[in-house]
Symmetry: C2
Subunit: 365 residues, 2 copies
């Protein structure tokens, strides 16, 4: 199996198209499609929002009769099942496409090779694996949930350069810059759920929503008429601090979007929230594949210690807050340097005056 | 006064040449010189080491008779006084140069406009101010000492991502990577003095010297036959922990280079080291213009609180060490977010796996 430079260019374009859906397709994957005749693009499209047409449908509509004998580049295996839309494999067959290149197979058990088989049975030449790792990357949440039943978890942390999240008296507004807070809006907007603790919500009267006005223009343009998709807000309330009075007062409950307060779970000890079980439940019952965690030092430590975090997003403000400030992660009792929790830095940038780093956990020393 | 694109290029080249001396010229400034006839370079050179010929001498030797009617680009005003070498202004006059462009005037009171005046009196056209801020930048230590009598101070800090310098039991080797430690060698090698505390030296048996083998090849090549200039090591020993037995044992005293142990100062309260007075004394009596501080959290806090630091160099290892680890800066008691010490990040890079940032202090909020 070999791919030409042109093939690479077309699949790269399809991936770029797919990414345009990243704020709106949850819980569906991001998919892009490009259709070519010879070296001319005759159709392109992407999955814009859950419930709407798939990428292939947009591209085939644009191509019309020019799809006959064409090549289709798709970032994910075309679907083979009747869902909210008819199967895309069928659409490609009917349109008369003669060759389909997929970046990767769809791990969704309803598809998982069936789409490819349908195309091949119809006499279409199918190739799989072009820019596969790039295609994996844009759908990490969808793919993780499909493969493991668990959502993909990003943990946000913000601190001063000396690792403090608040002064000793609790003051913390604002450690990071408005630019860093706008960056956080982008992460919230891409997630399926925003998870936090009742303490954070009560202390900061945080609404934990996506604010259209704070999104960059190019992101606003991805929403039809400002109809922002609001992620589910999941609030852990282990100690049941969320009284009825508070639900009257807090911004959280008076902003658009759903709120799920978790105070205890069946089959668990009292006052204990089983985080892995909660994550599995959010995936299973609420169809959440991407969770953005904004939590304090204690919950952050629980997520990290239980190895539930796929990616850390850390903002460090260029400030010194002092030794008696509050720490970043409530993790205690390391006695040897080989017990430290080690990270790989994937991205290091400046966001306004602040340092931003995106990191993953090293799996072994 | 106007400069051509060619003038800019030649001065940029002279500045690049000057920088090659940054490991060897202390306490002298770094100076580069380029001599041109029309658009041809006929001579170039830089001040290689204190005691050796100045940049202009090297460039004029290379140019020979081609210096007659030539233009000389010099990063600092040519000297006018008889020091270890005859004045460069005289050398340029004798060589028959017809135009001299200086990036900046020399604040050294022995020169300070006299070099320019000497050249002008000899009928040479002199222009000053081409790439002045770049020329300032390569000689920040020399210029600060000349202007204020105080050395330029860089403070090095190293911590984990959560701002810890050691575990609660004191373990700290190694937080940062070998690449970060090699980077520290480069800073040590550029300094006039390395300042630390007896606690750091005793705890780590640190030699605080420049190790030729750990310098990159291109830096090794700047030293004649591995003759590394060893900065003065200044050890603050407020509590007089540096016993005669320890001076027998510690590596510090058995490696090349001078050591100055400061236990108390005249005219000061007992057990108190007056840091501003110490810095002034190091400049005045030891001709130190550039100090590299490698200290623990307490001494770092003293330097920062007394506003004695010109530049911070911080290495953050991608590790989490826990809330009970030791803090980066022993600074206590901030009660309001407008009391935080705020920095400007000048550089943000990765050094091996670690984050490195170079920062200055904001002078006002």
């Amino acid at each position: 199996m070999s791919f030409s430079v042109f093939d690479h260019q077309m699949m790269a374009k399809a991936i770029k198209l797919a990414e345009k859906g990243r704020f709106t397709t949850h819980p569906n994957p991001n998919v892009g499609c490009v259709i070519t005749q010879g070296e001319t693009i005759v159709g392109h499209g992407y999955h814009i929002r859950a419930g709407g047409p798939h990428a292939e449908v947009h591209a085939l509509r644009m191509a019309g009769e020019k799809a006959i004998g064409a090549t289709a580049y798709v970032t994910l295996e075309p679907c083979s099942h009747y869902g909210r839309t008819p199967p895309c494999a069928e659409g490609l067959i009917k349109a008369g496409v003669s060759r389909v290149i997929c970046a990767m197979q769809d791990p969704n058990p309803q598809v998982s090779g069936n789409g490819i088989a349908m195309l091949q049975e119809a006499g279409i030449e199918v190739q799989v694996g072009l820019l596969e790792s790039e295609a994996e990357r844009i759908n990490r949440p969808f793919l993780k949930k499909m493969r493991t039943g668990l959502p993909w978890v990003q943990l946000k942390m913000a601190a001063s350069l000396d690792g403090k999240t608040a002064l000793s008296n609790g003051q913390s507004q604002w450690i990071t810059s408005s630019q860093a807070r706008a960056d956080v809006q982008l992460y919230r907007a891409q997630s399926g759920a925003i998870l936090s603790s009742s303490k954070t919500v009560i202390d900061d009267n945080a609404s934990l929503n996506v604010r259209f006005a704070e999104l960059p223009d190019e992101i606003q343009s991805l929403y039809p008429e400002g109809e922002v998709r609001q992620p589910l807000r999941v609030i852990l309330d282990r100690q049941q601090n969320m009284t009825p009075e508070l639900t009257q007062e807090l911004r959280l409950f008076h902003t658009e979007g759903n709120v799920l307060v978790i105070s205890e779970q069946k089959n668990s000890q009292q006052k204990h929230i089983d985080l892995p079980e909660l994550l599995a439940k959010l995936a299973r019952e609420h169809n959440i594949n991407h969770i953005w965690v904004e939590a304090g030092a204690t919950l952050a430590a629980s997520f990290i210690e239980q190895q539930l975090v796929d990616e850390l997003v850390v903002y460090l403000a260029p400030k010194i807050m002092g030794t008696d400030g509050r720490g970043l992660i409530n993790l205690l009792g390391l006695t040897s340097m080989d017990q430290t929790i080690d990270l790989n830095i994937e991205q290091l940038t400046q966001v306004g005056p602040d340092i931003k780093l995106v990191a993953t956990f090293k799996t072994s020393k």
